[in-house]
Point group: D2
Chain length 463, copies 4
């Protein structure tokens, strides 16, 4: 890297999953908006063609005049080529294909187990984790070998298990997991202030929150805007909208309907526990006993969110691919504007350019009291030059901790199952999941079917 | 107390629940067998008549020639009278009456929730705890006032919450919780040695076990007889009998059939986790998701244990009362022989007469790693003169810890609900229980009905 | 308080030690520079006259046109009057008088124990603590009664014991200890960059440091300016100046010579341990075995700092008093400019007006691993609206931890001695101090003499 | 091993340091007294001749009719030969020779630092540790390779560092450190009962003690004989004899005068802290600031113990060698009677033959609260079949903990210095030792001289 007073050049980023259709494009946009950084991004993907497409798309952006950040995008053949000399490593992969994901999400439905997302917890999250673990073992080993001092930013799910695998294999790794679900909750609080108090908040960052929990089921126990304590206001807000839900105006113009919720789960959880669950309802619903929000299709409808059939994801991918083709052929151009993601700000902070406090998935050193030491937890941290320091976030109230600690312990067990390739332990994990209220015989059958369906990614398992 | 070389006289024991029909008699028998101790037992009970009966029964035993331990039994009017000057306090009470217990056990059945015992965990255990907490608050306050240096032995369920209440109210209390379920598991291991290896073990004490967990769901991860490691043998044993179960020969002659199990739950848990669950199957089954062992009456039958209708308990009580009347009138005599309980040995150890290592329910100082500090856990401890020291028992494997920590955290929450008289928190507790796989609306209804039914014991609650 | 978009009015500050000749004036200056805040400051002091003088001085400042922050200063008669309604409580007191301080500092000299400051550790720090503890017990009790929700900022030494007393007596208190010694070390690093690299740093805040330890002996294990790692540079810097010392240019024009050092102790500690001790040499020298930096007067001179005779403090006070008189009579005016202290920024942050990360003395929740939980430690924390969250600072290397943990444990013991008024424990404390390398008989004599000399402040002690 | 009902044959013991002149003979005697065990002892020593002598001596004992335990003693050439197939490994070595020990003990005297033993702490203990660490690294590696399941009993000093090295190199090792100093303190309490109360105690085992601390500076905070609390009695005892000391009658007939003390240090420590320091005064005195008990020769004399010149050890060794020669030549015979050591009882307990509770040096899992996790601490533990479980011993009072934690942290640092061969860290260790109240320059000189003197055992160091 070359350091100047106000800018840094020659930064090297290794992008594992560099063929990513969506996240890679988001990063390109944010980098194009940032004039203080430049360098090279090496795109590595097992889908080489996709990586080459991104090389073209990325360089196309760099060439444009409205792109302030100038980056060279370069698809590489091997992960080693990507990693050598990297200052940052970004990991955003799909562990397996939509074929496997369809099994993750839909096989459990035969047993009455519905999963709106299926990538984090529940049977789907577990099996996805079992696929991801050997991949992340490989990443960790290669990072240890090729770029042990690089900062590693993971975007893939299941976040806690993927990030945890990196630390288990290479304890000295400087890795963190990033997720935008808390941002979405800050946006909801922005809208709450507008709806309840007619206060306009310029940016979600002005909503200060204390965050504690695990990815996709993290919680806010303190929230304020300037001097205003938002927790009592949220009680009113939840009271007003718990029955009919609250839709963020305009959201339907930005997002596929399948991803939109009415926050009824969040309101219900607030009314149970007094804390704001800081993730989308689709994710949240998966962490609790099946009978709460996912008993059957009808129940889901009442809670006003939607299941995400993998077929929809396939369709969205198809549309994206078409759009990308047009970009490559010059028929479409990508609009350069900030995405709201924080990857680039995180890099700037770690480069010593500005301090940043944001939520992060990181090994528990005590920042979330009551969850196991070493478990990957989500809380705020301070990012400064080459340094991440978790903030002490306190402790979840026992009613919630009881529910969350269970998942955190199960992550450890899933990791063990994955590392040992142990079907018996995988069965323990499955039976420990609150969505799985079936008996052992049924669970064994379900597990076998799911592992069979994903076995291309389970080398060395005895299924 | 008066200390001699080989005996101690003038010991004072306060017996709270001194009208106990069963436990009090067991204690009388063990004391009668023990020639090194003598003194006074002050019987306090809200059922004064029962306490007076026990005074008569106890003194009748003392008068007999075959009674080696000579004790004066004396029913007292107030708890203060019992406690002043006490060296030991024994608590064995029924929190509420069988009327409330019937609600604990049978109301949840309307929701498909079957509880073979219903006194420790599940909806029944929770509501029983809510009744017991104010009683134990009172005991702790009185002990603090009247006999702060006495050793307090609790026998009542729910063990963890009752003992935990004592420590919460009077942190300096010298209290412990005693339970014989682990002894029963040692006896099973005795029979296993006979059945599998033709080895006769004289006394269950010769089976060395490491114990770790929570009352009625504690676990053995190391077991040996002399140099023989019993864990691999138990794997064979479980393999041989997991399908049909194993009945301890002659048990049906000693116990009401309702209390007998075939250990199929224990075998199944061993096959899942590789550890021996050290309690009766009826208790164990209540700690796991409903679908595992208690899905419906038919399932229970397959697992080869029985539910315990409270009507049966009423019947047993009636028989006991008749027997007691005969004893009082001299038509029957109580056979003086050791009961297998350890209360008297514990007292001798705490008096400095002999060392004892046995399992005990005690605040966690780290003896069970992975469970919360301060939670009441069950593990082995060393008892010496005026001193109890837990042994470091290690950590449950994550698959089990996940299940047990959940209960341990729920105990804390139940205590909070009870101390704050907070129905909302009680609802959280109920919904956190793995037996309760119903939705919030149904759970609220169940809770209201159960609290209503027990409200005579819930002063100050807003139900 | 009244909240507006960009300002807050009607803030109430209680100032305990409101007759403070120096710290109070500093605060007045900083408040006068800050246009976003206004309100009332209630000055309470056992020296009422001094408090009334400060009322006059403060209001004189408020009246001036160049004062942007408008505050009403008001001396009050009782601590309760000061505390009722307070949003903030500031404590800056001298525990006892210079007469007692002279005994703290100079009596040990008879035994060869020299203390350059004598207010934090060593025999002087301990005896000062014993005087301060009952005062802080009183403050804590009154704060609990009158303003339990106020934020309490302590400036008095011994910082760790004073702040610790507040938490011991009122565990729910929102108290923190502020000290500027780390700022001074940041300034030294500023000068280092100028001296070694010709880099001008605008403000010490741009020097990012990780702070961990205890007040007046805290340490920096990471320091950076933008992307520049300052730790290797400090090694060079220490190498260059360890022999002759380094004087910050111009410091002699701002500070009494007595307070200036040449950082030789800091350089020596760096060469021993590789970390930067973040306090003035005069303070640092007191924390280590006597033979290191304080063996005798000659040794002190070689290390290029000065002892501070209490007579000098008396002289400085006299000068200050004369200056104050002139201010009151209008012959002098106080220059309104920022002092470099952070009290006002801390208040703004706690009022939700801006985030702040700075070092603070706070109970250890794990932010400094290796020091006891609950001990008052110094590390960075994030200040946001009504919230302080320590940053996880890591662990001192064992060579230093060994030295620091000793002091931290001794703080606990001093607090015990003070609360119990126990001379035997005080003797243990004294003998545990690394400056005290005399035998028990001598130590007893020294202790008796020191306690005798300070007995006006030791009500209830048996000396 | 071959297991019978009442005995075990074919036990294999590897004896590292098998040429031991003293400890090996003690073990032979205890084994000869024990009829339930038999097997082979493989003697390995770098002094092969001494090992062969012990082979002869041992087998000579086995052949005798009055020897109940029949063991085959066999000197072996390599450590691997000793370890393969071993059920137990005993380590009792002298790290280096008396030549190095003379430097350990006497070089510091030039700086006024007197060490009565010099094998555990202080400059001598540290340098001995630095010699021992590479040896123990080798033992741990070989044990991991050859006999990973064997129980390893270490007798060598410095106990904490030696045992700690084993665990650092092979975390799965089943190692413990044994020391008889606590037994000696129990014997003192026996004599106290006789002296103060005319009570005869048959065996020191009847004195129940709670033990907590570190080897050679461990403490008793609870002591009882039957129902008698010995702590208040010890206060009287210490009061009566603190001035003139107490000599155990007849001790001078058993022990070289050089090893006898009058317990004045122990009495003084009791009067300071209220706990009984459970080691000989010669050891205890080394753990505290030099001025306390070791200021000069005269002071030592007043405290009524003696320094142990290494010349005396040489003389004792010479006498022993002569005695051994006579035994080999048949002119003398070894008296077979129990030595009071517990090695054989420990083996029986670990073989499942009988439970044993005794003090042991073991990694801290929390048994001694307040000392670092993983540090080797001394406390009671339960020994059962193939299992050692520490008893929760509680926490030292802060006045003592402050002193002991310092040493425990220094052990960690010494281990680091030894593993890294780092003289700078060794200097930190030296300067952290409370006996070393000299300045850095002098300490560097002392260190260099000591390391020079021991450099034959410091391969790879840059001295």
């Amino acid at each position: 890297m070359k350091f100047y007073d106000n800018r840094i050049d020659d930064i090297t980023i290794a992008y594992i999953g560099g063929g990513s259709r969506d996240w890679a494009i988001q990063l390109m946009k944010d980098l194009a908006c940032e004039e203080q950084l430049s360098g090279t991004i090496k795109l590595y993907d097992i889908d080489r063609e996709a990586a080459y497409e991104n090389e073209i798309i990325g360089n196309r952006i760099t060439e444009r005049n409205d792109s302030k950040g100038k980056w060279l995008y370069k698809a590489v053949e091997t992960i080693e080529q990507a990693l050598y000399g990297a200052d940052f490593v970004i990991i955003s992969i799909l562990p397996g294909t939509f074929k496997e994901m369809a099994i993750d999400v839909h096989t459990p439905e035969k047993y009455g187990i519905y999963q709106p997302v299926g990538d984090t917890t529940g049977p789907g999250g577990m099996v996805r984790a079992l696929r991801a673990i050997p991949m992340y073992v490989g990443f960790a080993e290669k990072i240890k070998e090729c770029s042990p001092c690089a900062w590693v930013i993971n975007y893939s799910n299941p976040m806690a298990v993927c990030t945890g695998t990196l630390y288990r294999i290479f304890p000295g790794i400087k890795a963190l997991g990033c997720c935008h679900e808390v941002f979405g909750t800050q946006v909801l609080l922005q809208w709450m202030l507008k709806d309840m108090k007619k206060i306009e908040v310029t940016h979600r960052n002005e909503i200060k929150v204390n965050v504690l929990g695990i990815n996709h089921c993290t919680w806010i126990d303190k929230a304020s805007f300037r001097h205003i304590d938002l927790m009592p206001l949220f009680r009113e807000f939840a009271g007003r909208y718990s029955k009919d839900g609250f839709r963020i105006p305009g959201e339907d113009r930005k997002l596929n309907e399948i991803f939109i919720s009415s926050h009824r789960v969040k309101f219900d959880l607030f009314q149970r526990y007094g804390l704001i669950a800081a993730a989308g309802d689709r994710h949240l619903a998966e962490f609790f006993p099946r009978t709460w929000y996912l008993k059957d299709i009808d129940k889901v409808r009442q809670w006003k969110f939607l299941l995400t059939p993998v077929q929809t994801r396939v369709k969205i991918r198809k549309d994206l691919n078409e759009f990308r083709k047009k970009v490559i052929s010059g028929k479409e151009i990508i609009e350069i504007k900030p995405t709201g993601e924080e990857g680039v700000r995180i890099m700037k902070a770690l480069l010593g350019m500005e301090d940043l406090i944001t939520n992060v998935n990181f090994p528990n050193q005590g920042q979330v009291k009551g969850l196991p030491y070493g478990a990957i937890v989500e809380s705020n941290a301070l990012f400064t030059g080459n340094n991440i320091q978790p903030l002490f976030a306190g402790e979840l109230p026992p009613g919630i901790n009881d529910l969350i600690a269970k998942h955190s312990l199960n992550h450890e067990l899933i990791l063990k199952a994955g590392l040992n390739r142990d079907k018996d332990i995988a069965l323990q994990c499955l039976l420990n999941d609150p969505l799985v209220d079936i008996d052992k015989a049924a669970a064994e059958k379900l597990l076998t079917e799911m592992l069979e369906g994903t076995k291309a990614y389970l080398k060395g398992w005895d299924i």
